[in-house]
Symmetry: C2
Subunit: 396 residues, 2 copies
C-alpha cells in the first residue's frame, strides 16, 4: 500500500521504544509527560457530569457547535480573565480536543509544504511531528534559562521569514524554562515586525510553585499594539483538571479562528459535548481554585525533592536549573568524574537499574544536545522519587 508522501516527514519516535520498556515491574518512571491522575478531583467531576446530564442531558449527548459548547466557552473566557487576559470574549476562543488539536488546526490552517516554522530547541516532540506532517520546514531557536534567546531569534526571523513561531513560554516542555518579561515583549514586537504568527502554547502556566509566572504573551499583547493580530494562544485543562476530558482551547485573531473552525468541522466536527458540558459545570461550581492550589503544592514538593536528590546523589555529574513550575526538570550530564555524558547511552542502563527518563535528543528538531535528559517529577511520590534518583546514580 502506498501511503501519503507527508508521512515521510515524520520519524518514528525514539521515545516510543522507551515506553515499551516501562511495563517492567517495579520501575520508577520519570519518563511520563502527564500529570498524576491520583490528584484528580474525581468526586468533583462526578458531581459536574451528573449536573450536566440533569440540566442539559439532550445537549450534552448531541452534536454541538464546532466552535464549542457555549457554557464552556463562557467559563473558559472567565478562566482566562482570571489569568490576566481580560479582554477575551467567549466568541474569540474555540474549544479543541486537547490543545494537541489546537496545534493540528493551526498547522492545517497556516502551513503550506515548505513553509518555515521556528520552534525552541528543545521543544514539545508532538509539536515537531504535527507541524512536519503538514510539510513545515522547522528551524531551531536556542534557549537558555530565560527561554528563547530573542537576539538569535531575530536573526533567524530575518533570515528565514517564518510563517509561524511556536513557543511554550512558561515552564516549557521539556526545558522547564520560563521566558522573561522583557523577552516576552520582544517576541511580540518581532511577531509584528516580521508579520509572523506566534503560537503561545500554555498548558503549564497554572502549575507555578511559588510566585506566578510573568503574564502570558496574550495578557501582555495590549502593551504591544497590533501584536494581537499575530498571536494565537493554546490553553488546556489536561494538566490541571483532567487529561481524559481532552479539552483545550484556541484563542486567535477572528479570520484565523474562522478558518480553524472550518478545518475542525472536517477533522472531528466538534469536541465531545459530554466532556465539554462536564467541564463547564465543574468550572461554574467554583472548584478550580482549590484544585489548582492542591496540584501546585504537591508538584512543588516533588520538584524540590527531586532537585535535592539529584544534587545529593549525582553531584557534579548533572547540571540543571530548578524549575519554578510545570512538570519537568531538564538536566544535562556533565561527564564530570568520567561519568557517562550521553543520555541515550544512559537510558537503557537506567531502565536496567529500574528507573526511566526521556533522553533529550528527540526534543530538538536539529542539532540535538545528546547530554540532555528530561525528568518528570509529576507522577512519583517523594519516596519513589528518592529511590528513582538513587537508581539513576547507580546507572551513571
Amino acid at each position: 500500500m502506498q501511503f501519503a508522501d507527508r508521512l515521510n516527514q515524520v520519524e518514528t519516535s525514539a521515545i516510543r521504544d522507551l515506553f515499551k520498556l516501562l511495563g517492567k515491574p517495579g520501575i520508577v518512571s520519570f519518563a511520563g509527560g502527564f500529570p498524576d491522575s491520583a490528584m484528580c478531583d474525581v468526586e468533583g467531576i462526578r458531581t459536574a457530569v451528573n449536573a450536566a446530564l440533569t440540566e442539559d442531558g439532550g445537549g450534552a449527548l448531541q452534536y454541538g457547535a464546532t466552535e464549542g459548547y457555549p457554557a464552556l466557552r463562557e467559563q473558559l473566557a472567565s478562566f482566562m480573565a482570571g489569568k490576566g487576559a481580560q479582554d477575551v470574549a467567549p466568541e474569540q476562543l474555540i474549544v479543541t480536543t486537547g490543545s494537541q488539536q489546537a496545534l493540528d488546526l493551526l498547522a492545517k490552517t497556516m502551513i503550506s509544504p515548505g513553509d518555515k516554522v521556528i520552534v525552541e530547541g528543545p521543544t514539545f516532540l508532538a509539536a515537531i511531528q504535527c507541524f512536519r506532517l503538514y510539510g513545515a520546514q522547522l528551524v531551531s531557536a536556542p534557549i537558555d534559562a530565560q527561554g528563547v534567546q530573542t537576539d538569535v531569534l531575530e536573526q533567524l526571523m530575518a533570515q528565514h521569514r517564518p510563517k509561524m513561531l511556536y513557543l511554550i513560554p512558561t515552564y516549557g516542555n521539556p526545558s522547564g524554562a520560563t521566558l522573561s518579561l522583557a523577552r516576552r515583549k520582544r517576541v511580540l514586537e518581532l511577531a509584528l515586525q516580521y508579520q509572523c504568527l506566534v503560537v503561545e502554547d500554555d498548558p503549564y502556566g497554572d502549575l507555578y510553585f511559588d510566585a506566578p509566572p510573568p503574564p502570558s504573551l496574550l495578557a501582555l499583547s495590549p502593551q504591544v499594539p497590533g501584536s494581537r493580530e499575530w498571536l494565537a494562544h493554546c490553553g488546556s485543562l489536561s494538566k490541571v483538571l483532567s487529561a481524559g476530558l481532552r479539552l483545550g482551547w484556541l484563542i486567535a485573531p477572528p479570520e484565523l479562528l474562522a478558518k480553524a473552525v472550518m478545518c475542525k468541522q472536517f477533522s472531528d466536527a466538534n469536541t465531545s459535548t459530554f466532556a465539554q458540558a462536564t467541564a463547564a459545570h465543574y468550572l461554574r461550581a467554583g472548584r478550580m481554585p482549590a484544585t489548582l492550589a492542591h496540584v501546585r503544592k504537591v508538584y512543588a514538593e516533588r520538584a524540590a525533592g527531586m532537585g535535592q536528590a539529584l544534587r545529593r546523589e549525582l553531584g557534579a555529574a548533572i547540571d540543571f536549573v530548578p524549575p519554578q513550575g510545570g512538570l519537568f526538570i531538564w538536566a544535562r550530564l556533565t561527564g564530570a568524574g568520567g561519568k557517562i555524558a550521553d543520555a541515550q547511552e544512559l537510558s537503557p542502563r537506567a531502565v536496567e537499574k529500574g528507573v526511566a527518563f526521556v533522553p533529550g535528543a528527540p526534543f530538538y528538531c536539529a542539532n540535538p544536545d545528546r547530554a540532555t535528559l528530561r525528568l518528570s517529577f509529576a507522577t512519583a511520590d517523594l519516596p519513589k522519587i528518592e529511590e528513582g534518583v538513587r537508581r539513576l546514580a547507580q546507572a551513571l
Copy 2:
C-alpha cells in the same frame, strides 16, 4: 495573513447559510443530519459514567493509549461481531473522535495532493471537504436505488486509478440508498483488482426499519479473499447511542492502522478517555439492544409518516424511493404541473413558509442534480412532520 494553500480547495458551505436561517421561531426542520437527542438513553449513560468513575476514575480522567481505551476496544469488537464481522480482534480497531476523525486520519495517511478519490454522487458533504483539504482530486460515481453503479465504477477505476474509494453502502447520506449484495461483492473484487482502498463508512447500518441490511463490506470480505487488505471500515456510536460522546472507530489493515495511529497521536493524542470509559460501561451493561430497538421503531414510524405525507401533499411533483433505514429521504422535484424543479430555488420559499430542508446540489463533488433535496425525518415527531410537509407543498 496568508493561510495554507490547502484551504483554497474548500468551498464555503451553502448549507451553512441555510443553517443560519433555522433559528426562525416555529420552523419545522427537515434539514438536520443528526439523530433525535430526545431518544437518548440519558439514565443509561448516567449509570455508565458513574460506574466508570467508581471503577477506574484515574484511568477515565487520564491520558490514554492513542489506539483507544482497552475496555472499549473489546466492547466494539464484540459489537462488530454481533453485526456479522466476527473476526475483528480489539487490536484491529482504533477508537476515533467520531467517525469524522476516522475519515480525516484516512485522508491524512493515504492522500498526497493530486491523488484521485472516487466518491458517490451524491455523498456526505463533510467527506468531500475533508478529502479536498488533503489535496484529493474527487471523481463522482453515479448511484441508483441499489447504491453505486458498479459497472460505471469499474470504468472510472480503470480510467482514474484512484487511491481510495469512499462509500456509504448502507442507508447512504444523503441518498438513503443501500448497496445490493451483488454489488457489495463486486466492490470488494474491484478493490482487489485495482489495488484501491475501499472506505466503508457505516454510521447508519444499525438503523434499519424492518429487515436488517445486507452484510457490511467488512462482514463480506472473507468471501473475496485478499479484499480485506484493501478495506477500511468506519463505525460510529453517534447515530445509535450519543453523538455527544464523539466516539467512532476505524478498522483497517495493520500497516494502515499503525500509520493512522501515528497521525492521530499528533492530531489529538487520544479520544476522550472519559467518554470512552463511559461507552465501554454502557455497552458492557447490555443496554444497546433495547436502545437500538427503540430508535429503529421511532425512525421507522417517522420515515413512513413522511413518505405518506409527501405522496399525499406533493403528489407527482416529487419522486423518491422510500428508505429502508437511516435518517433521510432523498427526493427529486419533478417539475410536474409546472411546479418548481430546482431545490435551491425552493429552499428560501420553504423557509418563508416555515419548513427547512437541504438542497441536494452541495452533496455532489461534480455535476450536481439541482432537482434533488434531502429531507431528514429523524428529529421531528409525526404531527410536526405532517405540518412541515404541508408547508413544503405550499412553498412548491
